[in-house]
């Protein structure tokens, strides 16, 4: 970073605009039944966007679970699960049948410190057992996994959820400016308005198995 370089204000998001972007995002999610909701913290005016998805277990993780089952002498409940044929997860093979699924819970929170959104998530097996960082990594998109492993502690870490106080994984926000700045500058040059949440989540979501349907980029309007 150059000393004295002034960051364009557009790289950051004030909380009011964050709320507005989320509201627009949620409206479209509801219209296509994509599952996002707003979770309000009771007794407070704070909240976050939330989505829960079931993800079929990939083979490498299945092997680990198998070893885990033998080691623990416990039996995991098994269900046949047919992957959604419309699953657009790029680069991840669709799994037609599997013996287990994982429950991923994604939260989008506003960070007043960094003045940007931050993605938190947690993952568990259907028996409630939480996944470790290593297990979560095996579900990370292969294109990102190598980069994450090069500096594992700085990118994806277990953190306390600032509103719930429970352990969650967090994609560290320090890289957000790196990819949002060019996107925002390009939009500005083309005199286009951008819904920050749509652009941001389209980049960070797939890193941890969260897809953003393409219609969000065309149907969700940007705040004025």
């Amino acid at each position: 970073m150059m000393t004295g370089e002034r960051k364009p204000a557009s790289c950051f998001l004030d909380e009011k605009t964050f709320r507005l972007c989320c509201r627009l995002f949620l409206q479209h999610s509801e219209s296509i039944q994509d599952g996002w909701i707003w979770e309000q913290i009771k007794g407070s005016d704070e909240g976050f966007m939330k989505k829960t998805v079931l993800i079929p277990v990939k083979s490498s993780l299945l092997d680990k679970q198998h070893e885990s089952i033998q080691a623990e002498n416990t039996e995991l409940p098994t269900d046949d699960f047919e992957a959604d044929a419309e699953d657009e997860t790029a680069g991840v093979d669709a799994v037609c049948e599997s013996h287990a699924v994982l429950r991923y819970e994604y939260h989008v929170l506003y960070s007043c410190s960094y003045q940007i959104p931050v993605l938190y998530f947690r993952a568990s097996a259907l028996d409630g057992r939480s996944l470790s960082l290593e297990e979560v990594w095996s579900n990370v998109h292969p294109n990102y996994r190598q980069r994450l492993k090069q500096e594992p502690w700085d990118t994806l870490t277990q953190q306390e959820h600032p509103l719930l106080g429970q352990p969650f994984f967090m994609l560290h926000p320090c890289r957000t400016e790196e990819f949002m700045k060019p996107a925002l500058e390009l939009a500005h040059a083309q005199n286009r308005k951008v819904n920050y949440i749509v652009s941001w989540l389209s980049v960070v979501g797939p890193v941890v198995g969260l897809d953003v349907p393409l219609s969000f980029s065309t149907a969700v309007s940007a705040p004025d």
Partner: protein, 275 residues
């Protein structure tokens, strides 16, 4: 700006200690009786960083197959290692008699309450993450980003090895601000209370009012936790590093001198003891 005579405050904070007694949980399987382990805990460090000796002590009486990740509990409450030790004590034990009684567990890790901590690298990552966040608040992240990797390492090594001078040689840069600004952009702080489901309160707070007046601890609490400063009867204690600063204390000075090494002002609010 830090004056020479305020360096005593920095040292007193850094070298603050809490006497603790570690006892193995009766639920643990042992080959013979486990003696308690007594230790002076540094307030500004992290439980998992300073308890290798505790672990070794109890492993002597346990079989390897009975040992999983070590975790700590006080009177039924799992202790979050990622909070500074002094904050945990102020929150959970400051109105009990010393030493601080901590129960040690090696199984049934409470997944829903505690972060895993497999190596010191996890603590380092958490610590540096807090410093970066604090600098984002104080200087838009410019100071920490201008530092080199070895400077970050020096901050961590200073904390890990309990070396005040090594740490503060680097940390003083993070405590500087332009004279004309009168203080940091925003104060990095967290307010903890045991009576809430929420882990802490954190929001944006400037050290100087729009009229240029220095804001105080009382101003911060009036905005975020007014119940803490109702005086009659006194319902709450507001603790920073185990003391109750005057509400008139300027928040900028507190941030420079009473912050933890992670550069956050950790403020604990607990019920006042009923006399």
């Amino acid at each position: 700006m830090i004056m020479a005579d305020d360096k005593d405050v920095l040292r007193d904070v850094w070298f603050g200690r809490i006497p603790a007694c570690f006892t193995l949980s009766p639920d643990e399987t042992t080959e013979r009786e486990a003696e308690p382990y007594y230790l002076l805990l540094p307030r500004v460090s992290y439980l998992t960083l300073v308890t290798d000796k505790v672990k070794k002590h109890f492993l002597k009486v346990m079989k390897a197959e009975d040992v999983e990740e070590m975790w700590f509990e006080h009177e039924g409450t799992p202790l979050k290692w990622h909070y500074p030790i002094g904050v945990l004590f102020d929150l959970h034990a400051s109105n009990s008699a010393l030493p601080w009684n901590i129960t040690v567990h090696f199984k049934n890790f409470p997944e829903q309450d505690l972060l895993h901590c497999s190596t010191n690298s996890v603590i380092e990552a958490h610590f540096m993450s807090c410093i970066k966040e604090a600098d984002a608040l104080k200087h838009k992240g410019q100071v920490i980003n201008d530092m080199q990797k070895k400077d970050h390492k020096q901050l961590w090594m200073g904390l890990q090895n309990d070396k005040f001078d090594q740490f503060w040689a680097m940390n003083r840069k993070l405590m500087e601000y332009p004279t004309e600004e009168g203080g940091f952009r925003y104060i990095p702080f967290r307010i903890y209370q045991t009576m809430s489901d929420r882990p802490f309160i954190q929001t944006l707070f400037r050290p100087v009012s729009s009229e240029g007046q220095a804001l105080t601890l009382g101003d911060l609490l009036k905005e975020l936790f007014p119940a803490a400063i109702e005086d009659e009867p006194k319902k709450f204690q507001v603790m920073i590093h185990g003391i109750e600063p005057l509400l008139e204390t300027p928040i900028q000075w507190l941030s420079e001198h009473l912050s933890h090494p992670d550069n956050f002002l950790h403020i604990s609010i607990i019920p006042a003891p009923s006399d």
